[in-house]
Symmetry: C2
Subunit: 413 residues, 2 copies
Amino acid sequence: MRQSQLFTKTRKEAPKDETSKNASLLIRGGFINKEMAGVYSYLPLGFRVLEKIENIIREEMNAIGGVEVLLTALQDPEPWKATGRWSDEVIDTWFKTKLANGTEIGLANTHEEPLANLMKHHIDSYKDLPVYAYQIQNKFRNELRAKSGLMRGREFLMKDLYSFTRDEKELEQFYEKCAEAYGKIFERTGIADKTYRTFADGGAFSKFSDEFQTLSEAGEDTIFIDEKKKLAINKEVYTDEVLDELNLKKEDLKEAKAIEVANIFKLGTKYSEPLGLIYKDESGNKIPVVMGSYGIGLGRLMGAIAEVHNDERGMIWPVSVAPFSVHILALPGGEEEAENIYKKMVAQNKEVLYDDRRDLSAGEKLAEADLIGIPQRAVVSEKSLKAGGVEVKMRNAEKEEIVPIEDLILKNV
Amino acid sequence: MRQSQLFTKTRKEAPKDETSKNASLLIRGGFINKEMAGVYSYLPLGFRVLEKIENIIREEMNAIGGVEVLLTALQDPEPWKATGRWSDEVIDTWFKTKLANGTEIGLANTHEEPLANLMKHHIDSYKDLPVYAYQIQNKFRNELRAKSGLMRGREFLMKDLYSFTRDEKELEQFYEKCAEAYGKIFERTGIADKTYRTFADGGAFSKFSDEFQTLSEAGEDTIFIDEKKKLAINKEVYTDEVLDELNLKKEDLKEAKAIEVANIFKLGTKYSEPLGLIYKDESGNKIPVVMGSYGIGLGRLMGAIAEVHNDERGMIWPVSVAPFSVHILALPGGEEEAENIYKKMVAQNKEVLYDDRRDLSAGEKLAEADLIGIPQRAVVSEKSLKAGGVEVKMRNAEKEEIVPIEDLILKNV
């Protein structure tokens, strides 16, 4: 993409009311726009990152048997009344609104109820199980405080998968499979090193749930990590009794701030029972379906990547989620050659951002490239051409090196 | 995909309260689920169709210079107050809700205001123009009556592009380019034959806007079509004076019901002026940006395809938007070979739905295949194998023919 066609401008300063580092960096780079607290639009560069994250998650969910659907934000109260979650006291982040005829409806903050309700049309017998359905869809949560940038959104994209299984054993098997898939997602998005599978409160059905917490000072959670075992425990369940049970030792644990990028829950029959989602087993017995839920916040994941991968000059995107893989900068004397290189790389389907703007100084272009943080920067100038090609610098490296033009085009070194 | 893993069940009857043919067919086939009037979830087959439509639209928007963004549903009232559209009397389909602190906010039914407002950060000079930004995003409209299935949604996916140009001439050029791109989209999605570019009311800035209307008894609009010129005029502007102006003759026109699948509008400075979206020209004069808007409803387009491509047995998807291109049915004596064929086709990245279910009769499988409407059906049975291969039938053809297995796998005949 030509930067002259990218409409976004970078900013030297973030808005004054933006206190979080992730949103501040991403707003300055022109990735996102703040509409109101906890509500962010994605601009072209940010949208590209979001798409990359989305595709990685989709691939890993499909690989474990997930089938994609798309549910709605608008919610009929009935199934929520059946499970007791329509009340604002039970779910304190409901956004509610009214149909033209006066009927009160809600905006979904999660989708256990509508999906379990829908499954009644499709699950009848043990032969129809298991089902693993997921979506990548907007959630709405009326957060009283939303000041952590992409970390705590009032409107945010979430991948939520729901498992429908015969029994706890089948649930348990999928639960571990999904935890593994989450590990792959964090590996692929570049936050695996800092992300801990974390024991957390399990709710009614199960003693523990699992959170995936990425170490960061920007996190809203406090966890205790065991670096050797690569496990952690959320402060909310941090008691001597629980430590014993989990075979974790106080002296091995370190307190840390962390961002909850994902969680997985065993739900049991908490929602299937009140909603009447039952199946017939081999003997014709009617048995409530056993459910699990598995969430990853896409914006939050992007925010976590931003918190982890940056320096004082801006973002340092991992290649896998970078909006482009190469950033070509045309500097004086290199304009014509830069144009050729850009065209050849695009013809090879390389993902290139090309700074073809004529009215910016070298310094401005270089500072902006650092702020945007594309993994590889390739400067084409009179100087680089004289030295034998293109001056290539990886965003996370100290030094640049001269690379022959053909090598850049063909190998994307 | 194995049909044993596709959780959806087809239904013999649509829900009683579903009066529209499109939703009735799509619900029976397991493509969508009705959550409430005008609010539909997409199930795996429907989601695949939606994705195909989305990709076609995305390709055509990118081809004319569109840059993709993703705006939010939640709306700060301020920019809407500035243009006078916050009032429920001006936009009578607002859904409004409240933040936890009591502030009233809205759910976007369109995005002129927030996008124009956002552009103030990015448009400064004539050098920053033109900008063509689009998104594929959920709209919310509090429709009093929502009884036409996917045709009139309270929550629905829309592709909305907004153009930001220097002047009317530049607007005009892009407007025609977008109209052409829309023609390609309707060509590619199989409704071009029945879709007419239609003169409609233009609002304040322009005498006419253009709608794209697909002929169908299910349509909510009445238009007058000129089949030779492949043009139409909406009843709302059908006067002798306008006919003269457009050089259309009453005797060449035929009244018809139609579905408005898309529209394009010249907005002029209607929104940029009150919002203060201005640019400086070469002489430093401050000039309001000239805008246009270009919408296509994805669900409505899917509904229009459903209305146009069906018979008494079910859907007949055009190949370009079909959830799968081939439907393999394993019938008695063909199970093993069907399994082999399926695996080989998947290995070649063919999009195959494979009916591997053991407990359904041949009649049930065939009827379901017709209802789902995948373009090519390939029956593998003892009989077909004896006859020399697979019994292939196109969904829109009368007869089946025996095709050697290798031909099906390699050529996807």
